[in-house]
Amino acid sequence: MKALLLAAAALIAAPLSAETIAITGGTVALGDGSAPIQGGTVVVTNGRVTAAGAGVAVPAGARVIDAKGKWVTPGIVGGITSFGIEDVQGVSETNDSRARNTPFSAAIDVSDSLDPDAQNLGVERTGGVTRAFVAANAGNTIFGGQGALLTLAAGADPLVKARAFQYVELGEDSFRVGGGTRLAAYALLRAAMAAAKNPALASDLAKDSLVTRADAAALVPVLEGKVPLLVHVERASDILRVLGLKKEYPGLRLVLVGVSEGWRVAPAIAAAHVPVMVGLVDLPAAFETLSATQSNAGRMAKAGVQIAVTTIDTTGGGPQQKNLTQVAGNLVALNKVDGATGLTWSQALAAITSAPAAVMGYGDYGALKAGAHGDVVVWDQDPLELGSAPVAVFIDGVQQPLTNRHTRLRDRYAVPQEGVLPKAYER
């Protein structure tokens, strides 16, 4: 038992790799929106990318990984996820993503409960996801609380940056948690911001005010623009209203999430220099998404809006950021449909690698450029294609295992019949 604990401790303390790795001969996509480079090289030293592109020399002593016939990209960066705070969504004991019975809201800090053993981290890593932003859902007010940036590296502390952003609902979802109407949600938002400016307006508990002292304190860095405020909003008019918040609170760094009707007000979003995180939705799932179209991302990009792509509301069956490659591929496919606007292949890849990191203010993730974190995926084919899969994944320059609970089940049941002994003995 002691030995096991020690081994676990060693895993948690896994150091960054001092190894120098050169991935050579592959089709290299830098993830910055530029076209893929045939026969490119990516060099990672001490956990950071030191060079990437054509004509890059392989440093002496580097471990060379031959990627001929393969594709090399930055790792996928998950937009808004529940990684690490949820193992089985429907099993409440494992699910820290929504607190309904607490006086606290903006003060909630997801970094307090990150679980590196949640099985989805391994599954997603095997699918090429290397980083993710994690947010709690708004539980009892419009605020979801303080989100974090995660690494999906095996055996590592998943936390990269705590209290990286604040999350707020200002669309239809605020009905549920914001007092019953959008109007009440805005009243609550203003009260919270006022309390952040003047702590005397808050109370220790929520008896006298909806905003506790702890919540107000958590909003101070939001007001000061030190962390972005992610606003979930869908309807065109709601988007304009949120953009107007910058007049009331000039320090705000807004990032809009969802934004299904963004294409209708794209020039205003672009003019406000507010980035967006969008999904692949095309149904009027709510009255706030009446004009949803898969062309939303493409139309906004064309209008000059900075876009990142997430899987919000696009797939059932749990949050699967590994399917972001599929979503991105769909956005490319749109270009062939009359009247539709898609993304170029390079834009689409950037939208799921560098862009999610950039809109959150993390320019050194998700792109193969000197100085960036050494998060690199080698794929067996075009990564946006449905048949593709990673053959090697590096996070901070450390090669990751490509096994997980699912691959173990696959191996156990490759032949479903029991053998000499029950399946429980096959491992």
Partner: protein, 470 residues
């Protein structure tokens, strides 16, 4: 409904690999008075669907995945009068046939989704339109999904234009052990649900195992609150149904006073009589095995297990019992009973020779079933199970048709079958491919290049985004 068509359907049952031939109807003994038909054999809400006009069409120079397991490169498909006429390298076409150059493109049968809630959980997802679960009693075989289907659901148009879906089964939800009857629809908008009903298709009974019924009723402090409660309530209900059917059979054979009608029992007796298919939501391998034994106890057959995320663990058992598995490609971990969902599920089932298929259960997923097939196929390939295009396509065409017992009339490009056809602008298993044209019964109902052929439901008329590409 034409008599010919009904006969065609009947012959299908015997051929269908997934199917159990319906039980022999008891021979009517001589009786004194004319009797009413067995109440579960008639449809008081008959289909009024009719095929829309089409023109004789020949797609040339195209890669054909015919759904029968065949692949023809640079081939031709001819359909006319709503039916497939010929498929081959070259086929004879009359001079007035419309010719479409399919160079670089693929033709497949129309996509079939065996598990959808379009119409009964439509968009917008507001409470006023939420009609999928009659979650007021654990067994509600008396409810029929078609009475909840809102034919103006915008989702039908997305399934057509983005997914090439031509046929879909709408099921009640899974709150109940016996959720009610399903309905099979042609994916053609109509003013009424009857106008969408697939002519001649059998009804299904939606059943559910596992977490949902025990959670819904356990939380109300009533049975079932456990999995053993689930099976107990099922068996008690089947026992009643057997008794109900016995009374009707006796009446039919011996005459006398007709038994009282029980609308709930009609559905279950229809199952026991082989006239209604069982479509059983069931995730876990051990629960599927329990259901199989229960079905033998009461003499019915499960047509397909839906959401069978653990079907791969018992692929051999499913095959031995001639039961299909309808699954997702990669959903897992959203509830305890989906914890062991793996992407290789479909491939392992295929290798075992089990009737397997993709399904959506989702208004977004139904738009990309071809992509879900592609992912599942690729997962298989990575573990050494190589499934070619012409077999993979059956996961979204012929196999769901079999599990719905409509494979005699649709699900493949066999001459004489309905001309339910998708022309894809590339390989359907590439992410870069979209449906280019979709025909249903030979009528061109979607054309990527023609904005007039983008259906707009009443709900979307006059709204922002009306008629936009979606």
């Amino acid at each position: 409904m034409s008599k010919t068509f009904l006969l065609a359907l009947t012959s299908v049952f015997a051929l269908s690999a997934c199917a159990t031939a319906p039980a022999e109807k008891p021979k009517s003994a001589s009786s004194s008075a004319p009797k009413a038909a067995l109440p579960w054999t008639t449809d008081p809400f008959p289909s009024t669907y009719h095929a829309y006009p089409g023109v004789p069409t020949l797609v040339t120079n195209v890669t054909i995945l015919d759904g029968e397991g065949g692949k023809i490169v640079g081939g031709q498909v001819l359909f006319a009068d709503g039916k497939i006429v010929a498929v081959g390298q070259t086929v004879q076409a009359p001079s007035d046939t419309k010719v479409i150059d399919g160079a670089g493109k693929y033709v497949t049968p129309g996509v079939i989704d065996i598990h959808s809630h379009l119409g009964d959980y439509p968009s917008p997802q507001v409470q006023a339109l939420s009609d999928g679960n009659e979650a007021t009693a654990p067994t509600t075989p008396e409810v029929w999904a078609e009475h909840s289907v809102w034919p103006q659901d915008p989702g039908f148009s997305r399934a057509l234009a983005n997914g090439g879906v031509t046929t879909l089964q709408i099921l009640p939800g899974s709150a109940n052990l016996m959720g009610g009857r399903s309905v099979v629809l042609k994916n053609v908008y109509a003013r009424t649900t009857q106008g969408m009903k697939f002519p001649g298709a059998m009804y299904g009974l939606k059943m559910a195992c596992g977490e949902n019924p025990k959670r819904v009723y356990g939380s109300k402090g009533r049975e079932p609150s456990t999995r053993m409660g689930n099976i107990a309530v099922d068996r008690m209900t089947w026992a009643k149904a057997a008794e109900y059917k016995r009374r009707w059979d006796k009446y039919e054979n011996s005459g006398g006073e007709a038994p009282s009608r029980d609308i709930a029992m009609d559905t279950l007796a229809g199952v026991l009589d082989g006239k209604i298919l069982v479509q059983n939501h069931c995730y876990r391998a051990d629960e599927m095995a329990n259901v199989i034994d229960m079905s033998k106890e009461f003499g019915y057959h499960v047509s397909a297990f839906h959401h069978g995320v653990e079907a791969y663990k018992i692929a051999d058992l499913l095959k031995a019992n001639d039961i299909c598995a309808a699954v997702w490609a990669d959903w897992y971990g959203f509830k305890m009973e989906s914890y062991d969902g793996i992407e290789e599920n479909l491939a392992i089932l295929q290798r075992a020779g089990t009737c397997a298929m993709i399904h959506s259960d989702d208004e977004n997923g139904i738009q990309r079933l071809n992509q879900e097939v592609a992912k599942a196929r690729a997962a298989g390939r990575r573990m050494g199970i190589d499934i070619p295009d012409e077999v993979a396509v059956q996961w979204m065409t012929l196999n769901p048709a079999k599990a719905l017992h409509i494979d005699g009339v649709t699900g493949s490009l066999k001459p004489g079958k309905m001309a339910d056809v998708v022309l894809w602008n590339g390989n359907p298993f590439s992410v870069y491919t979209r449906p280019e044209m979709v025909w249903i019964d030979g009528a061109l109902l979607y054309d990527m290049h023609n904005p007039k052929l983008r259906p707009v439901s009443d709900f979307e008329l006059g709204q922002p985004g009306e008629g936009d590409v979606k």
